[in-house]
C-alpha cells in the first residue's frame, strides 16, 4: 500500500499512471518485439514477445494476436485503476489525513484485528474461570488419627493415598507421604491390593510398592508424591499443586515427607 502511487494533494505532480495506456496500445501488435509495453508486467510482456522470436513471421501471427489481446486487456485494467484513482482524486481527497486507498487499508486492518480478537475470545471461551473439581489443597485430619500403612479414604474424592511408614526409603524416618493415584504409564488409577501390599493398575498391569516405586508392568517411573505439611491447626495439609518426582531426585524435598 505504501508504494502505491498516492493520489496526494492538489499540488502533487500527476502520477505516471496516466501515460501508461498510451505505450500499451502498440504492444497489441507485437510484431516488433523490441518495444514491450513499459507498463506491462514481465510474464505478459515475455509471452507477447515470444511468438515474434521464430524466423517465420507468418505462422505465429495468429497466436500473437490472441496473446496481444490478452496483454491489452490485462494492462489496460491494471493501468485503469491508478488512472481512475487520479481522476477521482479531486473528489475523494477531501480528507486532509489520508487518501482513499489508505482508508481502505485502515478498514481492512481494523476488520482483521477485530476478527482475530473475536477468534481469540472464542478460544478463551473454552477455558472457564471456575471449574467444579476438588481443591488442590485440603486438610486430612490429625497425624494421630492414622495407623501404619496405606490409607485409601481420600483416593476417590481427592486422588491421593496417604501412607504412614515407620521407615521411609528416602528420608530414613517415620512419617507420612501422599502418593498421587495417577499411574505413571498412561494415567489410569491403580488399585491398592492389601493382600499383596502393592498398587496394581487395571489398565495395563503396572505395579508399584507402597513407597510408590514401580516394579512391574510398563510404568516407566514411580508414582508421584504431593506436598504434605502440618497446617497451623495441627492437621495434615496435602497440596497436590506441588508434585515431587523420584526420578528427578525431588522426594528428598522436606515438604515431600512429613515426619511423625
Amino acid at each position: 500500500m505504501a508504494d502505491e502511487p498516492k493520489p496526494g494533494g492538489p499540488e502533487a505532480p500527476p502520477p505516471p499512471a496516466v501515460e501508461t495506456p498510451a505505450p500499451v496500445a502498440p504492444a497489441a501488435r507485437p510484431v516488433t518485439p523490441g518495444a514491450p509495453a513499459p507498463g506491462a508486467h514481465a510474464p505478459a510482456a515475455a509471452a507477447a514477445a515470444r511468438p515474434a522470436v521464430p524466423p517465420r513471421p507468418a505462422a505465429p501471427a495468429v497466436p500473437a494476436a490472441d496473446l496481444a489481446g490478452k496483454v491489452t486487456t490485462s494492462t489496460a485494467t491494471a493501468a485503469r485503476k491508478p488512472a481512475a484513482a487520479t481522476a477521482a482524486a479531486d473528489a475523494d481527497d477531501a480528507s486532509p489525513l489520508m487518501g482513499r486507498r489508505a482508508w481502505i487499508g485502515v478498514a481492512w486492518g481494523a476488520f482483521t484485528a477485530a476478527s482475530a480478537a473475536a477468534l481469540a475470545a472464542t478460544g478463551r471461551f473454552m477455558f472457564p474461570n471456575v471449574i467444579n473439581e476438588p481443591p488442590a489443597q485440603f486438610k486430612i485430619g490429625f497425624p494421630g488419627e492414622y495407623g501404619m500403612g496405606v490409607d485409601e479414604r481420600f483416593k476417590e474424592t481427592m486422588g491421593v493415598w496417604i501412607v504412614r511408614t515407620s521407615q521411609d526409603i528416602v528420608h530414613n524416618a517415620s512419617g507420612f507421604y501422599a502418593l498421587l493415584v495417577t499411574c505413571t504409564h498412561l494415567g489410569c488409577t491403580p488399585n491398592y491390593l492389601s493382600a499383596e501390599n502393592k498398587f496394581k493398575c487395571p489398565c495395563h498391569g503396572s505395579g508399584f510398592r507402597p513407597t510408590g516405586i514401580n516394579f512391574e508392568g510398563p510404568a516407566p517411573r514411580p508414582l508421584e508424591r504431593a506436598r504434605i505439611v502440618l497446617a497451623d491447626d495441627g492437621q495434615i495439609l496435602v497440596d497436590k499443586s506441588r508434585k515431587f518426582q523420584f526420578e528427578l531426585g525431588q522426594w528428598i524435598d522436606p515438604e515431600a515427607f512429613l515426619g511423625a
Binding site: 473454552m126 477455558f127 494415567g187 489398565c203
Partner: protein, 258 residues
Amino acid sequence: MADTKTIDPQEGALVRFWNWLTETQIWTSIFRHGKPTTDRNRVLVMLSNIFLHLHPVRIRKSGVKLRYTWCMGGLSFFLFLVLTFTGLLLMFYYRPTLEYAYTDIVGLREHVPLGIMREMHRWGAHAMVITVWLHMFRVFMTGSYKPPREFNWSVGVVMLVLTLLLSFTGYLLPWDQLAIWAITVGSNMARATPFLGSEGPGAALLAIGDVKLVHSGSDARFALLGGTFVGEGALLRFYVLHCVGLPLVIAVLMAVHF
C-alpha cells in the same frame, strides 16, 4: 420440454402416467430442464440440483467401475448418513450427564423399542472407520492421490482424522469404565502436544518469568476435557463435539471432497 419425450414406442399405463407426471406444472417447476438426453441437459440436471451438483458433471465410465473403486468412498458416505440418522434418534433418549449417561445407554437397549438402534450406531461407526481406511488404501493403490488430485487427498486425510475423532468422542459417551479409562489414556496424549500441551516440547518456553502460560489448567488437554481429568466437563464437551461440531465440519469437507 415436450419435444424431449423419448419413451414412445408402446405406451403402457405406467409410461403414460410418467409422461403425464413429468409434464405437470409441479414437476416442471422442480426440474427446470429437459430430460437428460443431450449433453446440455445432462449438465443442467447436475448443476440445477442441490444434491447432484456436489458431484462432478462428467465421470469416466472406467472411474466408477466397482472393481476399480471398491465403492469404499460411497460406502463411507452411506455409513455417515446411517450414523447421522441413528445418532439423531439416540439423541432423543441420551442425556450427557454423570447421573444419566450410563443408565440412558442401558435404557436404549432395555427400555426403548428397537433396542438395536444403538448397536447400529456402534457397529456402523466401526464399519465407517474400516471403509474409510480401505478407501484410502484403494486411492493409494490406484495412485489417485497424484497430481492433479493432491488437494483432494489432503482433504481426505483431514476427514480421516475427523472420522477417528468422531469415533474417539463417541467412545466416551456410554460412560462405563472402558470409556472413562480409554479417554483418560487417549487424552493424556494431548499433554504432549508441542507448545499447546503442558508436558509437550516447547511448552516450557511459553512462560513469563516463573509463571507458566501452558499448564495443566490451560493446555490442549484442558480444552478437550473441560477439566483436568475425565469428568462432567469432558462428557459434555465430547457430546457436543460428537453430535454437532465434528459432523458439521466433516459434512462440509465431504462436499469439497466429492
